[in-house]
Symmetry: C2
Subunit: 643 residues, 2 copies
């Protein structure tokens, strides 16, 4: 039994979602996206690469991050197999795992690019070459597949690889004191530790985290060595240690910097090590980083990363809408980090951000039909400005990307989204997210069944039915989200007046079979302002209802969305539309728009105030934008006339 | 005598400005900027380059556009010598001209870079290498110096060079059917034609204009030849024929595209040829291009060029403020083009834009002390966003640039700004710009003295005193600017009711010595809206009074300028401040600003409308921004609460 007072996430295998929001997305993810991922890995040569048969001059030359794409497909498939057994899928995975196993080198090394394309470059450029990153994703996949099937082959392969990595890296004489330029292996090693019980993997994760940013700086040394060999190397666009979060030891870091996905994976790994190694020295840094991120660098969608230039953070309060990067992977990474902070602390501020990212900036990454993807998720799109831009920064979802990190990252998140809903420890079961379905909790030394009935996120009314095996005293902690201004609570139809602490109402009592809870979260339409230092959003508001952030699309509101202006005291009416966009609540109201007539002469500028007229406007959830008439305008932050 | 009914600009040598706006700027330009230009040309090796003594491995390797910087210094010096004789300056110029003359090759060729650095590349890359561009600037300088001093040496050198160019380029067998990737030589050849009377130079200009964009495309052919010799050439960032306005024959062009300075110089050359060769087929294209520029691509400051990427035009209505390029040279080029269109047509729409660029987007390019320069002239500056950026895109003026086109371009404009004020032909004298001073006009076959008394641009009251040699009937055309909603006019103290035609009130009468005119142009503070398709300015207004566009600076209004919001019905009070910023009229009013208190907890987002408080605000002329506390925020387009 865990003695750590922190919470443990209830695994998604025990969380059955039967709601109309996540369940259909999981089905599309499983039926459409997962096969597309496999097919893309196949046709691009990513799977064949493990045959190690590529020769110079042949097509489909392996790329340094290809292994990670196959790994994320396996990981997604593993999650899918856990909830929806599928022999054919399992056979496909087994075949690929067979290839992977054969690709492992005698010393345990396992990387297609550095085995067939550039074997002489093994471990020579940790900063940029994603070697340990690929290893990490393969480890995550191996752990997931082991959990799904009980088959040990892949897990053993990756344990061998991890053992080899543990020989190469460390502080002993003859070892490299390096770490990966793209963090990922840290959190993966903690998963490997959990799956195998081998503490050395946790210690290796700890080493990678502790060593990062120490002096003499490994990336700088590594670069000097490369330059000795090749005085005119390929210029790195990102030669800045903060890009890799390697500019100072992690415990001294207090500001989120550099590449956003890298940062999220590092902080996730730090949180894992903080918890598993019960290292109290990491949490203060994590709290500072969290505060910096959420107070100065977080888009309202839960997206992060303000520019394409470094795919990451710029300066405080710099949150441009049209040129936002907001990589899907970064929002996914934020969910990972927030989730870990939530288990460590039990504080709802982490669940609030996790929910924000999950329902908005992550989900926008995939079309409703599961076939098209955003890499960057801007908060405003003006089609002419994206014309010609394809791939990473596009005004509409793309079928795939050469650098294909995002689609499978989101797919593995959706396939396992149940794990973000509940946590538990010996005395408490916590409900972080509300979604219709049924869950098995382990609390008070027994299994407690929890049935949830709700239309969340479209309604704040939630019914919970608690069924312990036997009557028992424990705490049920229900999150009161940051967006909720007031709530009422009934236990067995009797009103309960209880104030939330750390963002949760805690119902501690002896629970018996058939006990029921009714939680009514007020879910008004919020007109959110950004901090005055966010210069691009001054005079603008964004709409949010429940966890859902809204946007305006050309399909509903015509073009020139920036010219819409909310009159003072505007109220929005939520209207549920079962048949639109997979079933969504839209927000309806009126706004002003300048009359076109005075501009018909083609003037670019005019002296007199243009008369305005009143127009109907409709906002749709940001997560489903671009699903009707792709290639049109979209806008999250709407101009408002100040009252 | 000219038979063309169009107007001829009155040369600046006949226009003495004694006002408080231009005269002090001309003095600083002459006393401070001109010596800085020379010194920069000297210390960087630009002047020494004409000794042709540079050897590989030595510092100060000549660059392809260096010759043009020296040329613009000579041109500016020549203008200065015309109004302010200065023996020492003249000796300096003579010395440099001596070097230039010696640098001329036996065949007439004259270019430092392609003589000492890459002689084998002569005429091999017209698209990118600025060879004919440099020739053009040297020709302009030679013409100016000839006018200033009567000395023919430089003019003869450049005539020889032009003759050589005329042998190399053309449609005869053995000639290259090329033209320059950076237009400039076209308008320069027309000046050379004027100075020498040699019509072949006009015909060469005509050839360059007619040949541009014809198929087979010269730049494409040239590139294919280069690629045959060097299969992996330096990748051109701008390989797009529209960048060079060479994507179609000029008469078929109807949209402004590509590099903004290039475009302005081309259109100026086209206007010159249209006029001098009395070619009626160019004007329709010029009118379409003008309409496209002014209706879809013109910043309110008269700046042009929406992005650093191509230093030029993007898509229609794309006028970002913070990332505006608005190169000083492009605004100068727009003045050139507008001025030529004005002479061709006599229509005030050209004077309106010329005035807008002159008083705003050009002048902002130099500090009041004449020592620092903007290359890009954005309409909003947020210091953190420009941190790290130096040189071309900077948040404050810089001492110089490696690519130093802008400072001397603006200097030659300021030195000769008088030429933009008046035009004349046999029967009409036109006043385009108002500025205190005295002018000699040639109209009705005599010299007419015109004395102007005004505080323009700070006041719209203008007194003109007309003194012909003898009483004579002619038309005095006075421009009623586009920003002026109403005016009153008195001739010899008697009110005159006359409607403007083509933007000018035309006073046709027998003028006698001592006749006086009083023109009172109403000069309200305009709150200008941009077309709803300019998405970045929706909900915002810019202030203009007379020809002066205003901006808000942090020095007057504190930081977070975007959070200022003009209440409905706001009025601005003009206040003249003699001792501030060289003597300017500022605009004072009040605005709302969100209270900081609700944000003190560090929130990035809040649900409730933040209370606002009323603050005093002050706007200063855009042309003088950044002269007090450089490195602060600046904003032209202010948020407005719609009424």
């Amino acid at each position: 039994m865990r003695t750590n007072p922190s919470l443990t996430a209830v695994p998604f295998t025990l969380v059955r979602l039967t709601d109309k929001f996540w369940a259909p997305r999981q089905a599309v993810n499983r039926r459409v996206t997962l096969p597309i991922e496999y097919e893309q890995c196949r046709v691009t040569g990513r799977i064949a690469a493990f045959r190690l048969a590529w020769k110079p001059g042949q097509p489909n030359r392996p790329h340094i991050f290809w292994d990670s794409d196959v790994a994320k497909w396996i990981e997604t498939a593993a999650y899918s197999l856990q909830t929806h057994p599928d022999k054919q899928l399992e056979r496909s995975v087994d075949k690929v795992i067979g290839l992977i196993a054969k690709a492992q080198q005698p010393d345990g090394y396992l990387n297609t690019y550095f085995t067939v394309v550039a074997p002489e470059k093994r471990w020579t450029n940790l900063a940029d070459n994603h070697e340990l990153y690929c290893a990490g994703h393969l480890m995550e996949a191996a752990v997931a597949y082991f959990h799904a099937t009980g088959k040990r082959q892949f897990l053993d392969v990756m344990s061998r690889y991890a053992d080899y990595i543990g020989q190469v890296f460390g502080r002993r004489p003859g070892q490299k004191r390096g770490y990966c330029g793209h963090e990922e292996i840290e959190l993966a090693l903690v998963k490997l530790f959990h799956a195998t019980g081998e503490r050395r993997y946790l210690e290796l994760a700890q080493y990678f985290i502790d060593e990062r940013g120490q002096e003499p700086n490994y990336f700088r040394l590594e670069r000097e060595i490369r330059q000795l060999k090749d005085p005119a190397p390929r210029k790195s666009a990102h030669w800045d240690l903060s890009y890799y979060q390697a500019h100072q030891p992690v415990r001294e870091q207090s500001q989120v910097v550099g590449h956003a996905v890298r940062a999220m994976y590092l902080y996730s790994g730090m949180a894992d090590v903080a918890r598993e190694a019960t290292d109290p020295t990491l949490l203060p840094a994590l709290r500072k980083l969290w505060q910096h991120l959420t107070q100065k660098h977080l888009y309202i969608t839960g997206g992060i990363g303000s520019t394409r230039a470094n795919e990451g953070f710029t300066f405080d309060y710099d949150l441009p809408n049209e040129s936002a990067y907001c990589e899907t992977c970064a929002a996914v990474g934020l969910v990972f980090w927030a989730h870990r902070m939530l288990q460590l602390t039990g504080a709802s501020e982490f669940a609030d951000v996790m929910e924000r990212a999950l329902f908005n900036g992550c989900l926008s990454g995939v079309s409703l039909d599961g076939r098209r993807f955003f890499y960057a998720n801007p908060l405003a799109v003006y089609p002419a400005a994206t014309r010609g831009a394809a791939g990473h920064v596009a005004g509409q979802r793309q079928p795939w990307f050469d650098c294909a990190c995002c689609p499978p990252n989101l797919a593995r998140l959706i396939a396992s989204v149940g794990q973000y809903f509940y946590s538990e420890n010996a005395t408490t079961a916590a409900v972080h997210l509300y979604g219709q379905g049924e869950t098995k909790l382990h609390v008070a030394q027994q299994t407690v069944r929890l049935q949830v009935t709700t239309e969340y996120p479209w309604s704040g009314a939630v019914k919970l039915r608690v069924t312990p095996e036997r009557a028992a005293r424990f705490t049920l902690a229900l999150r009161i989200p940051d967006w909720c201004p007031s709530f009422t609570l009934f236990v067995n139809n009797k009103p309960v007046a209880v104030k939330p602490s750390q963002g949760y109402v805690r119902l501690t009592r002896t629970w018996r079979g058939g006990d029921s809870i009714r939680l009514m979260l007020a879910m008004p339409v919020l007109q959110i302002e950004a901090n005055p230092q966010v210069r691009m959003n001054c005079g603008r508001v964004a709409l949010q209802r429940g966890p859902i952030v809204y946007c305006f699309e050309q399909a509903d509101n015509g073009p020139e969305l920036n010219d819409l202006c909310l009159p003072p005291e505007t109220r929005f009416i939520p209207v549920h539309r079962d048949r639109q966009l997979g079933g969504v609540t839209v927000l309806r109201s009126h706004a002003w728009r300048r009359q076109p007539q005075p501009w018909r002469n083609g003037s670019l500028y005019r002296n007199d105030p243009t008369p305005r007229h009143r127009v109907s406007i409709t906002a749709v959830p940001y997560c489903v934008w671009g699903n009707r008439r792709p290639g049109e305008e979209m806008l999250v932050w709407l101009n408002r006339a100040s009252s």
